[in-house]
């Protein structure tokens, strides 16, 4: 009798796995790439700002205080939805908001910001996309939470929503601030 039950047992395992798969796929995008940068230093970079291409900003310039690096672009449809949230609730985060303009012509980006608003304290532009690759960016929008020492603490793929701000970002920011005190 045992061998006869084996196929059923095997199937039960597969079923459990598939049930898990459905549950998991509701909360995660199957294409989401986990970031190997969590807990590691943000990659070194030197990028021009959007407003003033002559001025370059490096990761060292940003060190000293935590910041949220938000990858966005004018060609990114979902970024519009996220942008509205950032405009309204960006200040709530209590940290510097750095915009990372990804593979975007500066004129297009400026026009887009003029239309949808500018919640960022600073915007750096990566037209070729090389620094984005160093960050492991696969598209827009994506956001990185970097602490005062320049260590990447958290990466969120997908448009930021108020729920994400409340559940994921604020607690971590609070922790970072506590840690640095």
């Amino acid at each position: 009798m045992n061998t006869r039950l084996l196929p059923l047992a095997g199937f039960a395992l597969v079923l459990a796995l598939l049930g898990f798969g459905i549950w998991w796929s509701q909360y995660h995008d199957p294409r989401e790439v986990p970031s190997p940068l969590i807990g590691k230093a943000a990659p070194a970079f030197s990028l021009p700002t959007l407003e003033d291409p002559e001025r370059h900003v490096t990761n060292l310039d940003l060190a000293g205080e935590p910041y949220l690096l938000n990858v966005f672009a004018s060609w990114c449809f979902a970024c519009r939805e996220e942008h509205a949230i950032l405009m309204n609730e960006g200040k709530q985060l209590g940290i510097k908001l750095v915009g990372f303009n990804y593979k975007d012509a500066p004129a297009d980006a400026k026009r887009w910001l003029a239309q949808f608003g500018n919640p960022y304290d600073l915007i750096i532009a990566d037209l070729p996309g090389d620094v984005a690759i160093d960050f492991g960016v696969t598209g827009a929008p994506e956001s990185f939470l970097v602490d005062a020492q320049g260590i990447v603490r958290y990466k969120y793929i997908s448009p930021i929503t108020p729920a994400v701000i409340a559940a994921q970002l604020l607690p971590r920011i609070a922790q970072m601030k506590k840690g640095s005190q």
Binding site: V33, P36, F135
Partner: protein, 174 residues
Amino acid sequence: MSTPRVIVQRVASAPMSRRWRGRIFCALLFLCALLACEFSSTAFAIDPLPFKDRAEELRFQTLAKQLRCLQCQNESLEDSNAPLAADLRRDVFEQMQAGKSDAEIKRWLTARYSDFVLYDPPLHGGTWLLWFGPLMVLAAGAGAVFITVRRRANAGGASTQTATRPASDVEDDW
């Protein structure tokens, strides 16, 4: 009859609950945001690179086929038309020109994108089941086959009417 009412109801109001609607909306927005690879445009994938010889070109193609396009549903770096794929192809090419080995290039990529970028899963603790599972199943099955065959061979003994089965219009003789 309740059936007509059911139909009308479905037409008049969206049947999905808000939670599902919200999630699907977000998912769709997110998907729109990424330059889609759904269509068969190979435009960007066709990327003439200045290889110095056929061997280098072959090496590049083989390597790119083992790497995953991260913006796409399921395509290799070699075949994908996504802009990110084009950038990564260029990076892989530059590294090859700089003399890096395949392993080093793969390490460079996994440092940025995790093992997800490799279509050839590396062998480590997490993939042990993947690489050895089928062979274990095979071994177990082979064992079962061996036992079965031995049991049947012993049970039958030597006397078995074999090709002496009568041929008929209905039965075959092979």
